[in-house]
Amino acid sequence: MAHTLNLITGAPATIEEAFLDRIRQLRQADPLSPIDVLVGGVLMRPYLQRLIAESSPGLLNVRFSTLGELGLRLGEPALASSSRRPLPAMAERAYVAEAARGCSGYFAPVASTPGFAEVARRLLRELRQERITPDALGEQAAQMESDAKADDLVDLYRRYLDGRSGYYDGIDALAAGDAARFDGIELLVVGIWRLPAIARGLVEQIAQCLPVTVFLPSVAPDADGAHVELRDWLEAAGCTVTAIGSPKPKSILATLQSRLFDLTTPIALDESVELLSAPDPLAETKEAARACLAWAEQGIPFRQMAVTYRQAELYRPLVEAVFTEAGIPVYLDDGPSLAERPLGRRILALLDLIESPLRRPDVMAFLSDGRMPKATRERFGGAPAARWDSASRRAGVVQGLAQWHQRLTLLRDEERAAAEEDDAPEWRARRVEDCESLLAFVEELGKRLDQRPQRSSWSEALTYLDALLRMYVDKVDDVVGYLATLAQLDAIIPEVDFSRFLEIVRAEVEALKAGDLDEAQQGAFGRRGVNVLDVNQLRNLRFDGVCILGLTERSFPPPPRQDPMLLDGERAKLNEATGWTLPLRAHGADPEPLQFALAVHAARERLFLSTRRAEEAGGRLQLPSGFFRAVVSAVEGRRIKVSEVEHVPSVRRIRAGRVGAATLDDALTIAERDRTLLELEPELGRAVLASLEPRTLRTRALREARLRTRTLTEFDGVLHSEEAREAIASLLWDGRPRSATGLESYASCPLKFFFGDVLRLRPLEEPAEILELDALDRGKAMHEILHLFIEEIGEAKLDVQHRAALDEIADRVLADLEARGRTGAALLWLTHRQAILDDLAGWFGRELSEPTPYTKRMLEVSFGNPDPLRVPVGERELRIGGRIDRLDYDRKRFRVVDYKTGKALKSGEGMFVGGTALQLPLYLLAGAKLLGLDPATGEAAYHYFARGDFKRIAFTGAHLAERRAELDAVLERIATGIGEGDFHAEPDEWGCKFCDFDAVCDVGRGRIRERKEKDARIASFAEMREIK
């Protein structure tokens, strides 16, 4: 059996010391020969290197390898001599995914999913590590749930192995490892809790020739279960076991570490251990940063500190953000994903565009996120993405190269015409340039995307992608270089569909960490600053100060997951039947307690443990994990209930809702210092803040004005500034005439009027595919048809023969509408077109059956410029302008007609509806003025068309005579409100729902309106709204 196989166990610190002692002994015995150290993780290499360097023997000829590296050292020559080539990890992943897709039996339903490729990769790796062959697996089909499953798995395994037979990786190298090539004087194994069969075989071979010493941490019987399988194997192999006892703890921290799962006597904590209950992860992270700063003040260098966690996706970005903001240098081992960085986002956005219909938002997402290479940028005029975004929105581009071309060309021509007008502002010319450069860019992009191969070798696909990425993505060389290894798949899978190739590339880019491309990352561990690590990476490392975050139930430890391809039950049966040692994923040796214990033992001088009470501020309640409770119980010397945890003296509880630090000196940033001051000394804090940032005074005033007073303030939309009011008043009294609909808008909501009519804001929405004719286009078409028709018949008396002319005009206008792409899907357009024709027919029938008594008519009559309708309002005159659709008249009387294509309003004849229906009375006055007739002789009417629902609503001269005083009151209230700068919000559930400005309006408007209902302006407005 083995030459010398040693197992040394003990507390982590003791084991570390024993390892160093062994190096010393070996070095003293032989100062030059190589010593080999097999490590469990890549971070252990620099860690142990430094540890040895700091101790007396020095590093000379101490070689560190992971299992794969050891395998390659011992097995690669044999593999290379048999003409096998290395298979990089990325190519291996892509190859497994391709093999998995070939499953046609039991796994067929999920064979093409990315998740299946991943679980297949892990399982195939495990099978190889356990030296299980496809034939051997096939012979054990009875141990699996079904023959179908066994057959498909064996088939996949066999295809996979066959395909990669010309290649090798670390596992192949381990299998081919030749112990005779091992030239060290001893093999030391550190930080490995489990050895797969393939590694056991090699270690066994080495042990035949040279001593092998395995170091295993031991903290408590329950926790040590994590490496029971390895210990059993070592003992069965006849190893010598040395259990090193721990010296009596000399510090509170050491005492806690030695009594981690023990409840003997309480431990009086000192500053070396801190237990924290925080309201949420952000608060936890901030407290960890404060702890690190405090330790630094005590002389511990940042590089000798570690922050660790279980949920990397939650804590890693938080730690990075909080520590960076606090100016604490960090080394992020599991750095941010490349996809979170502009480079990654841009690459992914470009990949999304390939094989896409060039949707406008996708193109803009690609353009907005980062920069193109300089040469490409300059070729297209260097226009900023924001201007291109605006141009494409204005053009109404939705998707498709043809549409980009057509709509941008149209917009460019319109902009050019506008730019060529006299007195055109300079920006008009820039808009033309933007259209041209964007058009050129999109057309070239489309052309390049179209040149992609449909099916090709991996190398050809990579060549195309390489050129595309270099053309459109700046600083992409490293990523292109990384992806280049996919070319190795040419020999295994000669051809690939480009879609599949894209899927694989996308998955790789998404999985890529920013640090993978950062050369400075190599060797930065333990040097750059506080080491931020997942708890798995912390295994067997030690630091002066350690923060463990997120000790929360169901997060630390998390519930384990089974392998869905080969369940634990099947693995157990296979192991039992064959003696294999396939690991049980959920029901095997539980590594969690040892993992936690090692994290606690990782602290040499300072330890910070925290739990959170919610997943996020105000989020779902969470409870401290069993591990956290175990520590608290050990400190308290009794079992602590969950409900007690945050109330015991040893746990510091941070209350929820705190926005600052505990003291001013604890603040991590200037901003937090300000917040702390505000919390601790509110008056002083406010004064300081006001002097530093005067805008905060306005914020405070706004809050008080809105919530503490019962009158409208400028923060409610009432302008107080004289200049603003004068500007508004001059607009009202001296500017262009107001429209009737503008006045109606004020009556519906003054704030809406302010946004739309004073500031003239308009929503710029994402262009959408037109699925059906919209109401606006329908209305325009109806107006145009009627206008053209009435123009055509002139002043002739309408008769049935005119129907042909109406139909002909309708056909022409609707065909034009269709040609302009405004009518949407053909399927719906047929119906909508018929509805328009129905409405026209209905209108025509009405006109025939009720012949107009007027002898003359005018169409599209504008009024207001230069001679507006002047309506006296108090001592001044309101000037009103607009356009009348149709004016019928004779010498004594007249009728104003306004066509409406929507459903008839609920309002009846002669009504003002609180000022929101002013068009008819004002048009009546305008018609009278235009014709020089008495308003009493006329009427103004809406003619509604809606699916044959023809209706007329009129406001007659009689109505006007009867309600003139009320009309004046309404107009006076509106004019006074505008003149005095009263633009408060008048919430209305229905109106707000369709208001363009809903998103920028205060969500608490209803509450504020209610609170201030006794304000004179609101009261008078309410009175106006009562005028029906």
Binding site: Y106, F107, P109, V110, T113, P114, G115, F116, E118, V119, E145, S146, K149, D222, G225, E553, R554, P557, P558, P559, P560, R561, Q562, P564, M565, L567, A586, H587, D590, E592, P593, R620, L621, Q622, L623, S625, G626, R629, R639, K641, V642, E769, L771, E772, G824, A825, L827, L828, L830, T831, H832, Q834, D838, G842, R947, G948, D949
Partner: protein, 488 residues
Amino acid sequence: VSVFAPSDIEVRNRIRTDVDNNVCVEAGAGTGKTTVLVSRIVELLRTGVVDIDEIAVITFTEAAAAELAARVRQELEEALAGANDEDRGQIHAALQGLHRARVETIHAFAASLLRERPVEAELDPGFEVLDGLAAQLSFDEAYSAWLAELLDGPKPEIVAAIGRGFQLSQLRTLVEEVHRHRALLPLTREVARPADFEALRAELREAVSVFDEILPCCREDDDARADMQAIAEWRERLAAVEADEPELVREILFRAPDLTPGAGAQRLWDDPDGCRRSKHHRKAVHEAIQRVRDELRSEAFTALVPIAEEFVEQYECERKAAGTADFDDLLEWARELLVKSAEARAYFRRRFRAILVDEFQDTDPVQAEIALLIASDDEPTGQLARADTTKGRPHRRRRPQAVDLPVPSRGHRGVRRRPPWAARRHRGATRPELPVGQGRDRLGQRRVQPGTRRAGGRPAREHRPPPRPREARGRDALGLRGARRGSH
């Protein structure tokens, strides 16, 4: 140490210790249901009836699940402190593996079933759960793409619906409703009653004949006169388009006279009875028009439902292909997994030997079905406890009652049992409303029989496993034959 012993201590003890039988606990708020639930879990673990991997404890909020897990740990620790040598090993093992235990919300439990058997669920093993906003965005994107494609080809149902006054926004509302209640698919096909034009014509004929008779008695200024004339004119227009059904339909839907059947004053009639008859017939015509309109729109709407179903099914396939699931999917797909896959069903029945459901009154039929499918008596495993609060009587505190479940009817009993909401209907409990038709009977059973084919669609999903031989059936309502491990 408290010396207080509740007067119902025997009942509480029975709930705790009677681990060989199913228990249903119904009690008011604050009476200690969760406490007895926890004590029962500890007893199940202590006595070795189940181990920690064989127990599923389901509740309905994350907070409740965390609280429950923490209480179980605490109780186990206390039990360990006072345990004899025989029990110590069981309790210690339970404590060691507690973080693996399925003490979780029904959604998390359903997700764990899917992650354990993704192949049978035909789902990406690494599937991602979409939260509310992400799920909504995903739906929006899928709907837009589907609608654009739908409108690109011939779809007479859409043309008919739009022609009858439906808007695209209403189609979306319909699709959203079907999607929301997709657990009920396939919906029962409703055949809309054809529009009864003849009844309308008959009503018009009779009304116009009466109007001819009474119109001379009506003064010019009575509002009823305009109505009667409008009806008479409209009847003529209808007659003119009788042969052209599309035109006839448009005439009825959009051009029918806007009647005011209540208009008319007897003082303006020479014969007051004429006024009454006028009102009567105008009302009858008004109602006949509305009836035919309803029939026409029902017909169009009914034709849209299968289209909405198509989208919902297609979108479900897309989600599965993309490896994404929303919260409802977790439940529906877990249920489907248990119904469709005998292997998975058998596996989970072996895997979970005890199921405990807290707040059972909060389950909906799909959730209950998941629990009951696993807790079936196909295999001699499982326990089901139910801790139920009494809704509707919050102020009346009742002591816990331990109730053995009655002997069941045969078949797939977990499903056939009257679901909790059915029992609570009188207290205002609601079940999902269907947009059209009812896909299930009043007890939540699908009407479609296994193997039947939907018109133009895939076969209806198998709903129930075939009945088992009588001798294999268990003894109680849920088929939850409790047994100590190893006794079968």
